[in-house]
Every structure is written in structure tokens, then in C-alpha cells.
């Protein structure tokens, strides 16, 4: 570092120069940070674009004619004539070359326009905007549940007073992960709604209706979180620095809560980022089981009917959610781990 030249005995001019250099360094780092952020955002946009393109191509290259399917109806009652099909094709723009179709779809998608659903004829954007809030509520509830329950189990697996209790808590995540969520959902419905009437069944959108689906959706995530947090805490107890603190008289509980959890935050954050991705898939199953209207239900119907515009819209929304989550996770890493901050701290304080 250049600062050491500006010792106490240095001439004022020298000191000013050093100060100017230091300012320049700090400014450069700030600029570097912005550049890094811009790069991250560009990456996120690229992810969304790639998701769009890949779905566009795979759906187009799949066998089967969505237009004919639409005119037939999913249960195959009427048989459309060749003219009817051709007319529908040109109305929907399917008669242009693939490249033109792709570019048009891409241009529209940037404005949030994914066209109209082939099944219902309604604009995809309004279908999604109606379904999204319910799914967001479900996802957010499940995420919070997974985080809280997972952390608690992970913590208790290291803190519980009896060895056999710790062992039991340690094997809980494996059990949680191996339960299929549709089965868990059906069981919860069966017992808590139909038999004991603790929670209302199906329809309606109040908070009480959210409990069972959220629990079902949260279960695999909570198990994963418990596994990761529990392991990280366990490891931290065996680090040399844990011995340092123990040797200075810290109790194990304090050690885990005050120091271990901070270290576990980083892997937990990584898992959280992955969970958001899994929730989108999980929502399909859970919303189907509980017949909750939402993105999952739309997706399921659209895939079944080869409703390309809807599938396209759902994939793009999911990709945006996933890319945004990862962006936030990336930006949070340095907040949680001071070693990843670099830059300004080193320059600012070292003088």
C-alpha cells in the first residue's frame, strides 16, 4: 500500500499526494463495484433469455400440432377441416418461418406480452398476473417455514441435552427429504381436514387455507435446511476457534448461537437460493393436490394441452424469479461473510 510514505514526518505535499492517491483508489473500487453489479445483472438477464429461447425451441420441436389440438379440443369432439386449421395458423402467426416467429415472440415478451392462451384465448399476461399472487403467498410462507423449522431442527440437533435426542434430530432431515410431497399433502388433507376438521379443505384463499399447502411445500426445504445448518454447526464446534472460545470459558450454547449460526448463515443462504428454484416445481404438485389456483395449476394445464404461449410465459416468470433470487443471494454473501467483502475495508483502514 502506498500510504506508508505519508508518515508523521512527511512533508505536507507528500501527505496530500498520498491522500489523493488513496481517494483515487477508493473511487476506483466504488466504480469496480458498480461494474461488478452491472455484470451480475447482465448475467441474470442472460439466464432469463436463455430460458425463453430453450422453451421456445423445445416446444416447437416437439411432435404434435398445437393449433390442431386447440381446434380439436382436449377431449377430441370435433374434427376441424384443413381450411380451419390453416386459417387458425395464420391468425396465430404460426405460418411464418421459425426465426420470424421467435424474434416476434421475443420482442413481445420484452413488453410482457406472451400472446393469448391457445386453450382459452385470454392474454397470457393477465392469466399469470391473476395466478401469481396466490403462488407467491404460498411460496413465501413455505420459504419462511423451511428456514425457521430447518434452523431450529439444525440447532437442536447440536444442542439437545440427551445424546439419543441429538441423534434422532440428526436423522430427521433424511426422513423429511425422502417423503414425497404429494403423499404428505394427501395425508395432511385426509387427517387434518377431512377427519379432524382442523383446517378447511380446498377452496378459499384465507390464511387458514394456506397452512396445509405451505407445510407440504416447505417440508423438503426444511429438511434440506436442517441438514445443512446442523452439519455446519456441528463442524463449527470442531474448528480450532471453537476451542479458543471454549478455553476462554464460553458455554456450548452461547458458542453455537453467537458464533456457529453466523457461520451457518452462508451455506443456509446457498440452500435458500436453491429452494426458490425447487418451490416453482413443488408448487405444481402442491397446487394440484390442494386444487389451489395458482401458477402451478396453470402450468400443469398448459403443459397437458401444449399451450405454448402459457408455458412460455410461466417459464419466463419462473426464470425471472430464479435469476433475481440468485442475484440477491450473490449480493448477500459479502454481507454475511466479511472475508468476501474485500476492497474498501483493506484500503480504508490499513493506513
Amino acid at each position: 500500500m502506498a500510504e506508508h510514505e505519508a508518515g508523521p514526518g512527511a512533508a505536507p505535499a507528500v501527505r496530500r499526494m498520498a491522500a489523493a492517491r488513496r481517494m483515487a483508489a477508493v473511487r476506483r473500487i466504488a466504480v469496480g463495484r458498480q461494474a461488478a453489479l452491472a455484470r451480475r445483472i447482465a448475467q441474470a438477464v442472460a439466464v432469463v433469455w436463455a430460458a425463453f429461447t430453450v422453451t421456445f425451441l423445445t416446444v416447437r420441436l416437439l411432435p404434435g400440432d398445437p393449433v390442431a389440438l386447440m381446434l380439436t379440443g382436449s377431449n377430441g369432439f370435433s374434427t376441424p377441416t384443413a381450411e380451419q386449421i390453416a386459417e387458425a395458423r395464420s391468425r396465430l402467426g404460426y405460418d411464418h418461418p421459425l426465426v420470424v416467429q421467435y424474434l416476434r415472440a421475443l420482442a413481445d415478451a420484452t413488453h410482457g406480452d406472451f400472446g393469448a392462451s391457445i386453450q382459452t384465448g385470454r392474454p397470457v399476461s393477465s392469466m399469470i398476473s391473476e395466478a401469481l399472487p396466490s403462488t407467491l403467498r404460498l411460496g413465501a410462507a413455505a420459504l419462511v417455514l423451511a428456514l425457521v423449522v430447518g434452523t431450529a431442527v439444525g440447532l437442536l440437533a447440536n444442542l439437545a441435552p440427551l445424546p439419543f435426542l441429538r441423534q434422532a434430530l440428526r436423522s430427521l432431515p433424511a426422513a423429511g427429504i425422502s417423503l414425497p410431497s404429494f403423499w404428505v399433502g394427501l395425508m395432511l388433507l385426509q387427517l387434518l381436514s377431512f377427519r379432524w376438521h382442523v383446517f378447511p379443505t380446498l377452496d378459499g384463499s384465507g390464511p387458514r387455507q394456506l397452512v396445509l399447502p405451505a407445510c407440504t411445500l416447505a417440508l423438503p426445504g426444511a429438511a434440506l435446511m436442517a441438514q445443512v445448518v446442523g452439519r455446519s454447526l456441528h463442524d463449527s464446534l470442531h474448528r480450532p476457534w471453537a476451542d479458543t472460545l471454549r478455553a476462554a470459558g464460553l458455554a456450548p450454547g452461547r458458542l453455537l448461537v453467537a458464533h456457529g449460526l453466523r457461520g451457518a448463515a452462508l451455506p443456509a443462504l446457498t440452500v435458500l437460493g436453491l429452494l426458490v428454484g425447487n418451490l416453482i416445481g413443488g408448487a405444481v404438485v402442491v397446487e394440484t393436490v390442494f386444487s389451489r389456483p395458482g401458477m402451478g395449476l396453470i402450468t400443469q394445464a398448459a403443459v397437458g394441452a401444449q399451450d405454448l404461449p402459457v408455458v412460455q410465459g410461466v417459464v419466463v416468470v419462473a426464470a425471472i424469479g430464479f435469476a433475481a433470487t440468485n442475484l440477491v443471494v450473490d449480493l448477500l454473501y459479502p454481507v454475511l461473510d466479511p472475508r468476501l467483502r474485500g476492497g474498501p475495508a483493506a484500503v480504508g483502514v490499513a493506513g
Binding site: R28, I29, W241, D243, T244, L245, A247, P338, A345, V349
Partner: protein, 617 residues
């Protein structure tokens, strides 16, 4: 304030000087037996250890790795690693029996009665907690202190431990501090609740000599001020000689010898102690280093380029500047290296190596010496072609090999080989010795299968390993044996230049001495030239004709070994030499007779050349 004001429980008249009457023992260990759970039942780590630590003095426990000294240290704070158990015996600290004490008792004892200064400051602090948090957590573990008051107290403790600008430091994270400062933080934590006994487990073995000296000075000052008693666990006899009043020599889980340092050092009674003392590097001069005849080249290079006869070269040239009389085997000129950094500010960084030039005649040995971050290992890596220099040239036998790659680099490695610091990580533990040693031969397609076997036998013989060790796996060997295997591997291609990067610093003194004498013997028998990188001046002194002292990437001084040690010209070199332990040799008499009032000792703060910010990892 609650804790910092009182100076702790201590017999007032406790003196610094060594009187061994067990009456004033602060700590008394009797028949301590510790075992670890192992594959075949429980392995005994301590076989009934007896130990007395008189109050107000420094007692050293010295031994090689595996002697049980660290187990002893951990048993004294009740923190044996998993699988460890105290089987029998007694640990009495200030009259309280600790063997069999409950975890609750231990928790109260730890910190307030016995503190631990751990070994490696690099891993002994929680990386995601601030420095201040570490100290306040310790304070709040023992006392009900409001958060703000604890913070204030922590800053005071850090200042006492010699940390400049402690208030700002308290808000920093461990990785932002240098090793020396981190060790001071650990000392502040260990002494926060004013324990009567401080167990320091190799507190400086991960630090540079100059930093080591200041940390030991600081620990000294704590004892001199009558604030604590220290049990210093170390492998370094020179430190024991400098710092301790009493010494306990351990070997194989037993106490071999014990007594005042003067007596044990001058009239060791145990054979093991005598051996240990005679193996200390820098004590004995390797005979005949000055009058080595000019060596001629390697006999019988198997399959290599034809042996070049090298005319007699004076093995030690005067002062290293000016062109060599004959083509030097290794010539480095204007070598510069800047490691690319992460941020855009990396151009601001000082270079790791800046304009270093030196030449090395065939058969000579140059010691590259410096503290961590001085660029010595970077130079070694550039010479071997592992790192491309930012500027400057490396010539081997007159040929410019700077930035060589591909076939040229392969050709270079027939002449230049490297021995690494850590034989535990530089050998694949699952390979047999034969596989390791023949790997270079197979890589270069030299020799047939049967001839290779013959060659392995020769190579193992030359590094003094028994022939039957060829079938053993690296994991089964000891550190010294592994380093011999690493040397045999380096010799397999009959190189002319061996670059040794801290080849003995991971080894115990007795093994260190053996490897060093092996290297000397090989230099004679194989006509080798060494570039010997080390932080340990004493080791370099035993081996090198010339020594190059590096500081912050620059060559500070380059001179004949004799001259450099006798009359260093540069201040930095002098400072480095003075920091070598073993020089104080009982010059201390200090506060032996005047039990001073418990005034706060002047904290021996880090001086200007102790870097305040460590490399961020």
C-alpha cells in the same frame, strides 16, 4: 471496572526467579494418564506425567511432535479432542482438583483460572465475528456486564495486549489483521478474565521471527509484572533457553527430564535431552563448508544430455554482484512479479518480487531468506517455471528459460527439480514409494521397467532409506521418511539444480538435522547446486555459501554466509538476526528480586515493521 482493575489471585511474593520448591506450585500434575480411542483399543498419549508449575515464572514443556505436549496442554484446560480421556492422575490448580470435575466446574475454571493461548492464530479466531466480539463474548461468559461496558473493556484489553488503535481494530474481522496482531487478540482473550495460569501452546510457531520475538516479549512482560504464570509448550529449544525459568522435557508421553533451564541446558542428564540439544540448528557448523573443492558435474546422467564438464568454480563468490567468472548455473536478472488481484485496484499493489538479481555458480548453495510475504517462495516458483515473471529473466546454464512452456519447460525440469515444504501434502499418500520415485522416470519415458526398479534401489539408498521401503505407501511413513522420498523423487531425473522450498520447516529438530546432513551429503556426491528457501536463518546458516535476504519483494542484502552472520550491513538483516531465538541466553534477570507493585506493564506494541494488515485470504 469489574475485571480489568483487579490483578487476579496471585501469591504476592511470587518471584520470577527459579526456585523449585514445590510449595509454591500453582499447578501440580501427578501421574496424569491420557488415552485416545484408536483402531485397536485405546492408545496411551500420556503415561503418568508429573509436573509442577511454580507461580510467577515461565515453565516450558518441550518435546517433538508426538511427545504428548499438546495433549498435556489440552488436558490442563479440560478440552481433550474427541476420543481423548483422562484415565487417572491428578491436576491440582491452586489447590483445586480438576480431574473428574464436572463440565460446569470446568466452564468456571476456564478463562478465570486457566487460559489457553492456541497455536495457530490463522485458524483460532471465528472468521465471521469481529475482534471486539471475541473479547466481549469472553468477558460476558464470566460476568454480567452490559454490552456497552463490555465493549469498552474489550478495547482496553486489546490495548493492553499491544494492539494499536484498538477501538478501530475491535470493529475489524480476523482476516484483516496480521498474524502477530491476531496472536495478540488471542492473548487478550486468554487473559481477559485474569487467569492465574496461562497455557501457551506453541504460541509463535506460525509467526515470523521478528513478530515471534515481540509476542514472546509481551508474554514475558505479563509474567514480569506479576500478572500471570505461563506454561509454555514448544518444540523450539532456543525459545526455551531464551524465555523459560524451568523446563520439562517430554518424549513419548513421558517426562524425561525436568529442572531449571540453566541446569538442563548445561548438564542434561537424559540421553534424549542431550540429543535434542545437539540437533538444534545453527549450533554446530557443518564441517568443511568453507573448503569444499570445486565440484565437477554429475556422474552418470542416465539417459540425459551428455554431462557437461563444469570447470572448477569457487563455490562461494564474493558478494554476489558483478558477473560470474564462468557461466553461472542459475542467473536471475531483474526478476519482478505482480500477482493479479481481484479488484481494479490491484495495480496499486506492491509487487511480490521487485527487481531481484542474483547468480548461482555450479555446486554452490544460495539461501533465500525472508519473512512471510518477502517473495522468497515466489522467486523459487519462477525459477522452476511454475510462475511466469512479470518482468526479468531466468537463465539456466546461460539459456533464457523465462516463461518457458510445453516442451521447453519439460526439458528444463530435467535439470531443475523442486523439494517442497510439506512432505505430507506433496506426496500422494496412496502411492507406494516406488511409484512416487519412478513417476518422473515414467513421465519422461526414461529406463525400462526392470532398470527402473534398479534405479529406485539406488535412489532410496542415496537418501538412506531401506530398500524394502519401496513397497510401502507414503501414508505409512513418518515426516522425515516422506521428505527423503520427496528428495529421492527429485533426484530421479539427475537434476543439477535443486530448489528447496522450506524443506525442513515441517519437521522436528532431530529429523531436521538428519535431512540437512543428507542434503549436504547429496550435494557432495551428486554435484548438486541448491537454491535453498527458508525463513529459518539458523538452518540456512548450516547449508548455504551465500545468503540473500529478502524484504517485501526486494533483495536487501546478498553476502557470504560467514560475513552476513558476522557483520550484517543492512539494518533489516541485523534486525532479523537479532530476532533469532537463542541469542538472549539468560541475559534476563528482570524483576527477580523486586516484586513490583501490580502496575500495568508497558505493552510491548508491534513496531513499525509488523504489518498491520495481513493478506486477505
Amino acid at each position: 471496572m469489574i475485571i480489568a482493575g483487579s490483578s487476579g489471585p496471585r501469591p504476592p511474593g511470587a518471584s520470577r526467579a527459579g526456585d523449585t520448591d514445590a510449595g509454591s506450585s500453582l499447578l501440580r500434575v501427578r501421574g496424569l494418564r491420557v488415552t485416545y480411542r484408536g483402531e485397536h483399543g485405546r492408545a496411551v498419549a500420556l503415561h503418568g506425567v508429573d509436573l509442577d508449575v511454580p507461580a510467577g515464572a515461565v515453565t516450558a514443556v518441550v518435546g517433538e511432535s508426538g511427545s504428548g505436549k499438546t495433549t498435556l496442554a489440552h488436558a490442563l484446560v479440560g478440552l481433550l479432542p474427541q476420543g481423548g480421556r483422562v484415565e487417572s492422575g491428578s491436576i491440582r490448580l491452586g489447590g483445586r482438583e480438576l480431574v473428574g470435575a464436572s463440565e460446569r466446574v470446568w466452564r468456571e475454571v476456564r478463562g478465570t483460572h486457566v487460559g489457553l493461548v492456541p497455536q495457530d492464530p490463522g485458524v483460532s479466531l471465528d472468521p465471521v465475528s469481529t475482534i471486539g466480539r471475541h473479547v466481549t463474548d469472553v468477558l460476558r461468559a464470566h460476568q454480567r456486564v452490559p454490552r456497552a461496558a463490555a465493549r469498552e473493556l474489550a478495547v482496553r484489553l486489546l490495548t493492553e495486549a499491544g494492539i494499536p488503535d484498538a477501538a478501530a481494530r475491535a470493529r475489524q474481522y480476523p482476516h484483516e489483521l496480521s498474524g502477530g496482531l491476531r496472536q495478540r487478540v488471542l492473548i487478550a482473550m486468554a487473559t481477559a478474565a485474569r487467569p492465574a495460569l496461562l497455557v501457551a501452546d506453541e504460541p509463535t510457531s506460525a509467526l515470523d521471527v521478528t513478530v515471534q520475538r515481540r509476542i514472546l516479549d509481551h508474554l514475558d512482560s505479563l509474567v514480569t509484572a506479576g500478572r500471570t504464570t505461563i506454561l509454555l509448550v514448544t518444540h523450539d529449544l532456543l525459545i526455551v533457553g531464551d524465555r523459560a525459568d524451568h523446563v520439562v522435557v517430554m518424549s513419548d508421553g513421558r517426562v524425561v527430564e525436568t529442572g531449571p533451564v540453566e541446569k538442563v541446558f548445561t548438564q542434561p542428564s537424559a540421553q534424549y535431552t542431550r540429543q535434542l540439544l545437539s540437533d538444534v540448528p545453527g549450533r554446530t557448523d557443518v564441517p568443511g563448508r568453507a573448503d569444499v573443492p570445486g565440484r565437477t558435474d554429475v556422474p552418470g546422467r542416465a539417459g540425459g544430455p551428455p554431462a557437461r564438464a563444469v570447470p572448477k568454480a569457487p563455490s562461494a563468490r564474493a558478494d554476489g554482484d558483478g558477473p560470474a567468472a564462468n557461466t553461472p548455473l542459475l542467473a536471475v536478472e531483474g526478476l519482478r512479479l505482480v500477482y493479479p488481484g481481484h479488484g481494479p485496484a490491484w495495480r496499486e499493489r506492491p509487487p511480490a518480487v521487485a527487481d531481484v538479481s542474483f547468480a548461482l555458480a555450479p555446486g554452490a548453495t544460495l539461501g533465500l531468506v525472508g519473512e512471510s510475504g518477502s517473495g522468497k517462495s515466489s522467486i523459487a516458483r519462477m525459477v522452476v517455471g511454475l510462475v511466469r515473471p512479470t518482468a526479468g529473466t531466468v537463465r539456466i546454464d546461460g539459456e533464457d528459460i523465462t516463461g518457458a512452456s510445453g516442451a521447453r519447460l519439460r526439458a528444463l525440469h530435467r535439470d531443475v527439480q523442486m523439494i517442497y515444504q510439506n512432505p505430507f501434502s506433496s506426496l500422494n499418500p496412496r502411492f507406494t514409494v516406488e511409484e512416487i520415485v519412478t513417476e518422473p522416470l515414467r513421465n519422461y519415458g526414461i529406463l525400462e521397467r526392470t532398470e527402473r526398479r534398479q534405479r529406485v534401489a539406488e535412489l532410496l539408498d542415496s537418501v538412506a532409506l531401506p530398500a524394502d521401503s519401496a513397497r510401502r505407501r507414503a501414508a505409512e511413513l513418518s515426516g522425515g521418511q516422506r521428505q527423503r522420498v520427496a528428495i529421492a523423487r527429485a533426484l530421479a531425473l539427475t537434476p543439477r539444480l535443486l530448489v528447496c522450498d522450506e524443506p525442513v520447516s515441517a519437521l522436528d529438530v532431530t529429523v531436521q538435522a538428519q535431512i540437512l546432513s543428507l542434503l549436504v551429503a547429496l550435494r557432495e556426491s551428486h554435484g548438486l547446486t541448491y537454491l535453498f528457501v527458508s525463513h529459518d536463518l539458523a538452518v540456512v546458516r548450516e547449508l548455504a555459501d551465500q545468503v540473500a535476504v529478502l524484504h517485501q519483494g526486494r533483495l536487501v542484502e546478498l553476502a557470504d554466509t560467514q560475513r552476513l552472520f558476522a557483520a550484517p550491513r543492512e539494518d533489516y538483516t541485523r534486525n532479523l538476526l537479532e530476532a533469532i531465538p537463542g541469542r538472549r541466553r539468560r541475559t534476563r534477570q528482570a524483576a527477580s528480586d523486586a516484586p513490583t507493585a501490580p502496575t500495568a506493564p508497558a505493552p510491548s506494541g508491534p513496531s513499525a515493521d509488523e504489518p498491520t494488515t495481513g493478506p486477505a485470504r
